[in-house]
Symmetry: C2
Subunit: 470 residues, 2 copies
């Protein structure tokens, strides 16, 4: 053993010595170039650390870390106060933006979220949304919508048409002061309409789950309405984007026609082809990698085509999710692989990115705040009123109609996605963007307490009735 | 029913009519701005499609789609020809770069991989590598290395020291012609040394798996050596990067000291804290999301700190993987969530990114090719020779010693990662980068056939012996 160690060490040292010699000889070599070899003076630790801190990759990592920590903290706080954690994450975004972090600590904020360094963050947030919309599409089971067609479709349509109308009416009064400078009235009005009519399918699903309502008639009706809403609203949004981008009649019509062809191809031939290929591949490779690769390919291609046609990549991702085979095991595997990474890592990035754009500080004058309140009121009256009346009309009782109205009024994450699209298209000015973000948060926050109120009122009334009867 | 439909339709139409009126009235509104409202003339379909195609997001999606398809096709082809699919993906990268795609179809290539549009792709590939190194770190079980210490450590050290020495010697002859213009000899030599001594732990693991050798004494010795190699080589690399970046003695020493403190903190207090937190969180939240969030947090913070200290983010990601608790279920859940996305979606992006930098077309003159052959020979002699001799010395028989030499000679993906770091640090010129990439691919491709050869020779010899004995 001792001999081993001795031989080992001496060989080792001999090599080190030889390497040392090579370096000594090599340092005397002259390079045949005019450029001087960078023999910067010893920079000292601080200069070097500062340099490393400014490297784009470390900047991006720092941004993600700050976002994750704040999102998690505020999310936990929100949950403790009885709000759904998504509300916490929406708040976290606002907190990180110029409205709070940038206002309290302008230097630290400018350091972490330097203006020029936000592009990688934006790409990450977009890829996160693409994955997220894909999961949303997968969770949506079209057959369920078809089953309980009448009630759901009527409620869903009413809960879109009515707020859409109110949104356009509101646009008439807000256009001159609040639309972005180069927007036509048509674009602005179409967009305000859509901003009023969005329902947050995922947030709604989570609220129903937390209240253990998913399996009740009310829960399944609400989830079906929200699903129908989602599909309808995203189709309308695709049309609106096509109209806005095309800037003219022929362009818009071609975009819409192309979009229709695209949706048709996805829903029929591509869907069948994907189903067959998934069956074939999962039988052949049980470990599942080729199936996952195929799904990514369909997702990316669909998103790309949708973006090219002029109806946003997110719509393509959503459709790709919708056409994935209904096979439960397959969906679970895929969701499992994609959901955590997108929900835990990338959605907070999206919220933060939204927050960085939301400048509540712009709303300095009183009448801005009145406008903000007006917008929120119109949003609530439109969405809550529309779905409540329709639910009554198709024969739901008072309690369920009220509950459906309240649930459909939840804007949540989906609204933020739509608002960002409007901002990117140059339709919404920073002021109205901030107001609409506040509206989205308020309508999401109010859902829980309002549901409690309805529950409480009807429980009391029922028990009073029961007492009177007894 | 009929009444329903009539009422429904008339209400619906009434709303549409009102919206139409709003638009007609609204179009006459005048905005109080000097900027003209963009009423671009009808652009026509083609102009619009072209515009959408140039959008950064659609560019990125197109790049990823092209990369995935080519990687998959070449990967399948490689598998059919009996090569490990990672070799196919390495080839796919080269094919997409200027060496083939850019040479055959310069316009299409310039269109898909426009120079200015590569930054998002680079960030994606770096995030993919961070996730990948994290998984590699998790798969590595330090306790195993400790168990079979003697043989593995001796082989592993020999298989690093010997090729490292040869690499530095080679650097002495290549420095004047091939080092990037502003590199000092020390940096270049240290880097050539590391480039010669890398072993591809993941590729090696996959090759052993495909040949069903993982459970044999040879397989477990080889995998342990490769793991020890990985840890050692990445530590040396961290030191080399610190020296290169610091550009002076004091800076380098501080970096190395900081790195040592960082590794110590990660291996002891942080490791214990993570283990406790994971136990606590998995008991409290069985669905696992907080645990995954915690792991992401540790991973990102570790990568960020490593980058700040001046020893690459990838080293931080690797260490973060190493300190994750050994709990099998936890590791499986986490690997499951991260691996497919990184291996299927992001690693091909990294390979393509490497390929885009590899300009085999630069090697125009004959003596470049001779140099390339020389580099490959030195690499093989160093790594194969070093580990073969050490294996013989610690008492392995001829067959196993040869096999270990061949296996350790596999460079694979790890080498490409190291080469890219060298390129980014401005140490390797494009010419020597291309040569080293070729060397990495050749040493990876030769592993399979050489293993077959050893197997074949010894089987024949054994059967001859058996015949002679019989």
């Amino acid at each position: 053993m001792k001999r081993y160690v001795l031989v080992y060490l001496s060989v080792f040292l001999a090599f080190i010595a030889m390497m040392w010699l090579i370096v000594l000889r090599g340092e005397q070599l002259v390079k045949h170039t005019t450029a001087e070899i960078s023999k910067s003076a010893d920079q000292g630790m601080w200069v070097q650390l500062k340099y490393n801190l400014e490297h784009p990759l470390s900047k991006l990592l720092l941004q993600i870390i700050v976002i994750l920590v704040v999102a998690r903290l505020v999310g936990v706080l929100a949950k403790r106060s009885g709000l759904p954690s998504v509300v916490g994450e929406m708040f976290a975004g606002i907190i990180l933006g110029p409205s709070l972090f940038g206002w309290l600590l302008p230097e630290a904020s400018a350091y972490v979220f330097t203006k020029g360094s936000l592009q990688p963050l934006q790409f990450l947030s977009q890829i996160g949304l693409i994955l997220f919309m894909f999961v949303i599409g997968m969770e949506l089971d079209i057959r369920k919508v078809q089953h309980r067609a009448k009630a759901a479709v009527v409620i869903s349509h009413a809960s879109i048409v009515f707020p859409y109308f109110l949104g356009m009416l509101l646009a008439y009064f807000l256009y001159q002061e609040f639309a972005a400078t180069r927007t036509s009235f048509l674009s602005f009005a179409l967009f305000m309409g859509i901003a009023m009519s969005i329902t947050a399918f995922p947030v709604l699903a989570r609220i129903l789950q937390e209240r253990k309502l998913t399996q009740t008639p009310l829960g399944s009706l609400a989830i079906t309405c929200a699903a129908a809403d989602d599909v309808t609203a995203w189709c309308i949004l695709a049309v609106v984007i096509a109209i806005v981008k095309a800037g003219g009649l022929i362009g818009a019509v071609t975009s819409i026609l192309l979009a229709a062809v695209f949706v048709f191809l996805m829903l029929f031939p591509v869907r069948r082809w994907v189903a067959k290929s998934v069956d074939y591949l999962s039988a052949k490779y049980p470990n599942g990698q080729p199936v996952v690769a195929l799904s990514f390919f369909v997702l990316l291609t669909s998103a790309w085509l949708a973006e090219i046609i002029g109806i946003h990549a997110l719509f393509g991702a959503f459709i790709a999710g919708v056409i994935m085979p209904q096979n439960a095991l397959f969906k679970e595997t895929l969701t499992n692989k994609v959901e955590d990474l997108s929900v835990l890592l990338l959605l907070p990035v999206f919220f933060a990115f939204t927050g960085l754009r939301t400048e509540i500080g712009l709303l300095t004058e009183g009448h801005y705040w009145w406008t903000c309140i007006l917008i929120t009121l119109v949003a609530v009256i439109g969405k809550f009123g529309g779905s409540f009346l329709a639910a009554r009309w198709v024969g739901q009782d008072w309690k369920d109609s009220l509950s459906i109205g309240i649930l459909m009024n939840t804007r949540g994450l989906m609204e933020l996605i739509v608002l960002n699209i409007g901002y990117d298209l140059g339709i919404l000015s920073p002021e109205i963007f901030a107001m609409l973000v506040i509206m989205a948060i308020l309508t999401t926050v109010m859902t829980g307490p309002l549901m409690d109120l309805v529950e409480f009122t009807f429980r009391r009334r029922n028990s009073t009735k029961a007492e009177a009867a007894g």
